[in-house]
Structures are given as structure tokens and as C-alpha cells.
Symmetry: C2
Subunit: 427 residues, 2 copies
């Protein structure tokens, strides 16, 4: 893969050169959110400060002070606290159809947010120029991570309902084979529940159809199921089992990525990956050993206490209600200010922190577009949808987040956003 190399007096590696060429959207969005508090941001994928577990963490810290002889302030194991890893197993088993999931702490590895897990998996499997298959749309921070490692993202064909088109995927693979580049396809990345940005979930029939295509290949292509938002359902957990729990995926290299960053303490950045593929997890552990030889032990100990005390599930019930109310606030304000009437459409989110909307024919929401400029004038931020497509198009979507903005400001943000959208349309 050719890499643009800006003039430099230093001699960078291939990876360094890749990274230098990238203007990070996530970094810019986060900096904008932090630097311009007067802007109303529907962009940042932050959680709601009001829902962050100050009291629970305080209790956990007080509890830890009386136990463990300060072991929680010491180094821990590279793969993470065994107790926390057991808590992860217990958490997974609470999902419909997963009570009999067969996992041991050896199948779990604690990471610095799910992001580090994703990064190491791509490092481990992909060389520059390799191909990763992603949904359309997909998580833009993951797309950026791939770019940073010189890896190419390619969209899996999706049908009109936004589901994976198994026949289309087969055709894509056949084309790769015909072109002699199938051996560059190294990984499939999916978001199983309340995907970022679409909030769609993948049901079992779709997962089974995908298994049919992948299992017929002459070599396995590992599949990551990113479940970062799984805990953030509003009413009922999505009924589909994870790939880990479906017999169709037995003996296939599947990696589940989860996190406590969204559903618990964003500022602790503790995530995890789960796999029964020992070769895969051992290698991840080896790379993790080089990167930091273990996620910080203190936040892990806090989480372990909160999860094992039962406080975690009560916390989740509370925030699910709260985020559902915020979704309702955003949706009703968008309706009220004529967003749907103006030709925009969206599926109601059943979980997560996002609303993914598609503009009428011809809408262009890209950075630098009239739409974008008017939003900035009205001091409102959103994520342009094109960033969420591996191929950089279509251009007519927006990702709105109701996670970070205080409830009291959501109606005003929605009003400004609709005004901007309507003004842009009039041109």
C-alpha cells in the first residue's frame, strides 16, 4: 500500500509514516467537545456525566482500602485480574440463551477499553495492505485504526434493510479469489448490538448465514464481534446470542470485544476480549505484554468489586432508563422541528447512545459542505456519516449522539440542528 510521506528530517517506520498522514477525527471531535463547551455537541460519543458512577466508585475505593493489603495498587497479571475475568463470564451468561456458555478466565483478557483489544487484534492479524471486511456503515474510529496500521477496510455488501447480504459477500470473496487477492482478507469486524453508528443489532439468522459463507472457505478468517453497546439496551436485551454462544460458530476463531467504558466508568477505560481460540488469545496476550504488561490494576479492582457486589446490574437498570429518556427527548424534538417532514429518516434506537439519520436524496453532510458550515454557525456538532463508510460514501447521513449532552439541552440542540438541516436544503 502506498503511503504518503510528508517531508521529514526523521526516518519513520512504515507505521509511523501511515500515522503521520492521518488527521484523526476522533481526536479532533474529542478536543472540540472539551475545548468549546458552548458548542452543543451531538457528535461526541461521550457518556452522560450525570450517570457516571461517582458514589459506586467511592464505595469501592473505601472497600478496597480495608482489604487486599494494597494489592490493587500493585502490578497485576498481564491478562487481568482473575476475579474480574470471572465477573465478565458471569455478565455474559446473563444474556438470553447464553447461560450455558462454556468459558474460563483463560478465555478472557482485560484491555485498556475495547479499543486496545481491537488494535492488538488488527496488529496481530494484518500486515499493511491487507483487507478487513466491515459492515456498511461501520465504527469510524475502527476505520481510522485500520488506516493507521496501513490496512484497507472494505464494506461487506448489505441489503436494503441494512443486513449482511450473504450472497453478496460470497460474490465479493469470489471476486477476490479470481483476482488472486483473497489471501489478503484477514479479518471480519462486526458490531453485534446497537452498532455505532447505526444502532442496528445482528440477529441469529444473519449470523448463521454469515457462518455458512465463512465456514466454507479453505482457511478461517477470524471474526470480531464488537459488543461495546450490548449492555445499553433500553427495554430488553437483544435476543440474538453472541457468536461465541452459537453452535454454528463452534471451532471458528471468533473474538468478542466488550467494555465497561460505556456502561460504567468512561474514565477508567477497562475493556475485555473473549475468545475460545487459544492460539489467538495467547498471541494477543503476548502483544499486550509488550504494550503495557497489563491494564492498570486499580480500576480493575474497583470494577471487580462493583460487579461482584451486584451493584453493577442496578446501575445498568438506572442508566438504561435514563438513556431511553434522552433518546425520547431527541426523537421528539427532531419530529417537532420538522426533521422527518423534511425527508430525513431513521430507525428508532433500541439501545446505545446514537441516532443514525439519512437525509433526503442529494443531502451532503460532509465536513466542508454547506450543511456542515451552517451547523458550525449555529454552534452545533454532529458526525458526518461519510466517515462511517469504508469507501467514504454515501454522503447523506448524520450520526447524532444523545449520550453526552445534558437532557435540558437536547431540545435546543435538536432545534438548532433541524434549522441547520432545513436551511442547508434550501441552499
Amino acid at each position: 500500500m502506498s503511503v504518503e510521506r510528508p517531508e521529514s528530517r526523521l526516518s519513520f517506520s512504515t507505521l509511523g509514516s501511515c500515522a503521520r498522514g492521518i488527521d484523526s477525527v476522533i481526536t479532533r471531535l474529542m478536543a472540540a467537545k472539551l475545548a468549546q463547551p458552548e458548542m452543543l455537541s451531538l457528535a461526541a460519543g461521550f457518556t452522560d456525566n450525570g450517570l457516571l458512577p461517582q458514589e459506586l466508585v467511592g464505595e469501592a475505593v473505601a472497600h478496597l482500602a480495608g482489604t487486599e493489603k494494597k494489592a490493587h495498587f500493585q502490578y497485576g497479571m498481564n491478562r487481568g485480574r482473575p476475579g474480574l475475568r470471572n465477573c465478565v463470564i458471569d455478565l455474559l451468561k446473563t444474556y438470553p440463551g447464553e447461560a450455558s456458555l462454556s468459558l474460563s478466565p483463560e478465555n478472557i483478557l482485560i484491555t485498556n477499553g475495547s479499543q486496545q483489544g481491537l488494535y492488538i487484534l488488527v496488529q496481530m492479524l494484518c500486515d499493511p495492505g491487507d483487507i478487513v471486511l466491515v459492515e456498511s456503515p461501520s465504527y469510524f474510529v475502527f476505520l481510522e485504526l485500520l488506516k493507521g496500521l496501513g490496512v484497507k477496510a472494505v464494506s461487506i455488501p448489505m441489503d436494503a434493510e441494512g443486513r449482511i447480504d450473504a450472497d453478496g459477500l460470497q460474490a465479493l470473496i469470489d471476486t477476490y479469489k479470481a483476482d488472486g487477492i483473497f489471501d489478503r482478507v484477514k479479518l471480519v469486524y462486526l458490531m453485534g448490538a446497537y452498532a455505532n453508528p447505526s444502532t442496528r443489532c445482528i440477529d441469529e439468522s444473519e449470523k448463521a448465514a454469515l457462518a455458512g459463507v465463512l465456514h466454507a472457505l479453505e482457511r478461517p478468517i477470524p471474526v470480531i464481534e464488537d459488543m461495546a453497546y450490548r449492555e445499553l439496551y433500553f427495554e430488553e436485551p437483544f435476543p440474538a446470542r453472541s457468536l461465541l454462544a452459537m453452535s454454528e460458530w463452534d471451532d471458528y476463531p471468533v473474538i468478542y470485544a466488550g467494555t465497561f467504558t460505556k456502561p460504567f466508568a468512561t474514565g477508567m477505560k477497562v475493556g475485555f476480549i473473549v475468545s475460545r481460540d487459544r492460539e489467538c488469545l495467547d498471541t494477543v496476550a503476548s502483544i499486550k505484554g509488550h504494550q503495557d504488561f497489563g491494564t492498570a490494576h486499580f480500576p480493575q479492582a474497583i470494577l471487580e468489586y462493583v460487579l461482584s457486589s451486584g451493584a453493577y446490574s442496578a446501575h445498568l437498570s438506572h442508566i438504561r432508563q435514563a438513556y431511553m429518556k434522552k433518546r425520547d427527548l431527541l426523537e421528539s424534538a427532531l419530529e417537532e422541528h420538522g426533521f422527518r417532514d423534511a425527508g430525513w429518516s431513521w430507525q428508532q434506537p433500541r439501545g446505545g447512545l446514537l441516532l443514525w439519520a439519512r437525509g433526503p436524496e442529494g443531502t451532503d453532510t460532509r465536513i466542508g459542505s454547506a450543511f456542515h458550515r451552517i451547523c458550525l454557525e449555529k454552534e452545533i456538532l454532529y458526525v458526518p456519516g461519510d466517515l462511517c463508510f469504508a469507501e467514504g460514501s454515501p454522503h447523506g447521513h448524520v450520526r447524532l449522539s444523545f449520550g453526552a449532552l445534558e437532557s435540558a439541552l437536547i431540545p435546543e440542540a435538536a432545534r438548532r440542528f433541524c434549522e441547520a438541516a432545513l436551511a442547508a436544503e434550501k441552499g
Copy 2:
């Protein structure tokens, strides 16, 4: 560089294949320490649980609960909290001759321990097969990190006093040039203060001589000065300025790596790198953005409070005294049990957590040696010195740590260790 590829059904990347082949010493040592508490470990580079700042952290958490509207539980900036970065600058300025150090928060990047900083720097600068110049001995975890990235470590020639031999380095570079491989030399890695494992410090004349050699090259080779142990001096800070503060190194790509992991809370894993080379730090930040888009915010907020309240310097004074006493305990027990009489020699550590000793001619401390076997029989662990040399030899050193072991157990550990050493010698 050729990579041993064990049989696999998965298709690993070059990096994944490298990582699979590595039997991690750090991971094994840490696991051994955590799994076999009855062993007396002089191996693990852990800090002393008794000196970990439980009360200070408790105070910080209580303070934070009353401020910031829970922002410390939210995401932060990719480069780290601006306030904490300012604290890092203030900390550096406390060192002899560094009060006028010209740095802004833009020159600092907060990392997951100093390890992540080292890892990203190597990723950024080195492709597989490239060469990194290191001291002899050097930090074995760094040597392992290099292996994991397929990068070759080569020892800088050192003189009989263990100082960098500038003429020898020049000769090495000339050889590389003659062989046409000088362009593979990408990085110099030094530990400026109380190095792991030797506890030596690099004085200014040595640093100036190194500058003379490197500045004369046709392209700059970045230099990392790892100062992980700098705060842990026993009586006085080592008087040499860091490379950052020496005019001989102006306009040269120098990176300072520091951490709060050893001197404060090991289980929080907050470190930092400092550089005035903007191109370098921007690229590190880009890679960091892909790996985790920012170190966990909560531990950073705790540290920022502790540093700005002044409690940090009092904490440091306390632990310096305590570690010096532990050094004394270890040294006097080694003397008492005949270690020096048996032909072992060492420099008294003036800081850090380690004692680096060299056995009499013919000593072999490698894993699997009689020496090692006898130590295991006596339930005593040490780090074999060969692991600390890029070339895997000489074989006659041991690295002993007085960091983790309780003071009360140090004399017994030293007794067992001396017994083992003497028994091995009799063979």
C-alpha cells in the same frame, strides 16, 4: 528478519508471528510472583505494597467527588489532562540545573505507564529488521518489546567502568556504514538514572560525548532517555541534567520517558513522554489515538490532585528513605552471608529498587543452570543477568530487587540466595 512461525491454522501478520514466538520473561516472572507467594522473590520489579499511597489516593478520590462534575470519570484528551501535563513540567523543573527548562503542555504526552510510550516510539521509528542501540546491560523488558516488533537490539560498546565508549560507538557506526546497513539504525535507548538493571546513572560528560558522535551523523537518530527510576534517588538527585535540558542536545530529537508507576501508584499505570520534537510527538499522539485515544482519565485526575497539592514530594521523601533502608538490609545480609567473599561484586545502588551483581569468573546464572536450579530448590527467585544483554551474554550476573519483598523477609532471602550461590560454585 526471519521469524520462526509455529504451525498455525490462522494467518498471522509479521508482528503476530513475532509475538507468538516469544516466551515472555516479564509475564512469567510476574505470574510466578503472583502465583507462588511462598517463594521469596528477589526477581520481580514490583514496588513495596507497604509504600503504596492508599491514604493519598483515598483523599484524592474524596476531593474529586466534590469537584469537576464527574469529568474525571469521563473521557479526556488523547494527550492527557492538561493540568497533569503541567505538573509533569513542574516536576522536571525540580531537578538540578533544570529550573529553566522550556516546556509547554504540548511537549508532554500521558501514556499507560512509560512502557506504552516506549512501545509507540519503537513502532513509530522501526520496521522489522531495524536496529536499536542499547546500553550493556539494558532493560530486559525493553529488549523483549523490541523482539516482539521484530527489531534487533545491539549493545553500544561500554568501557570497563560501564560507561558509554564514544570511540567504540563511532567505530560501530563506521562498521555499519561500511556494511551498508547504517540506515537500519533507527533509535538509541538509554536509562539516564538508576538504570534497570545496573542502577548506574549517566553523567553529563558521557552525555556530551554521545552528543558529539550522534550530531556528526548525516541524519539524526532519535534518543530515548528512560527516566523511570529518576525520582527514586536515596539521598540526593543525581546531578546530571536530562538530555532535554542540555544545550548539547538542542534541536536533536530527544524523548524523555517518565512514569508515576514506580514512585507513586504502580496499579494506576500512568506514565509520560516529553519531547520538543513536534513531528515526533504529534506522530506518537496519532498512534496513541488508535491504540486507546487517551490514558484512563480517572487515575490521571488522582495524580494531578496529588501532585498539585504538594503531597507528592512528601510521599517521595518518605519512600526514598524506606527503599534506602531496604537496600541496606539487602546489602548487609549479602555481606554477612559471604556473598562478597565468594567473589561477587556490585556497586552500591544510590537509587532505584535493584542491585546488580557480578559473579566470579565462570559463574553461570542462566535459566536452567545449576545456579538457577539450586535457587528454585531453595525457593528464591532472581533475574538471570544474561536476559539484560542484547546479545544474551555474559552469563555471570544477577539482578536482585529489594522493591517488593517485605523488609522482614529480605535477610532470609539474602541468606538463601547466598547459600545457593555458594553451593552452585562448589558445583
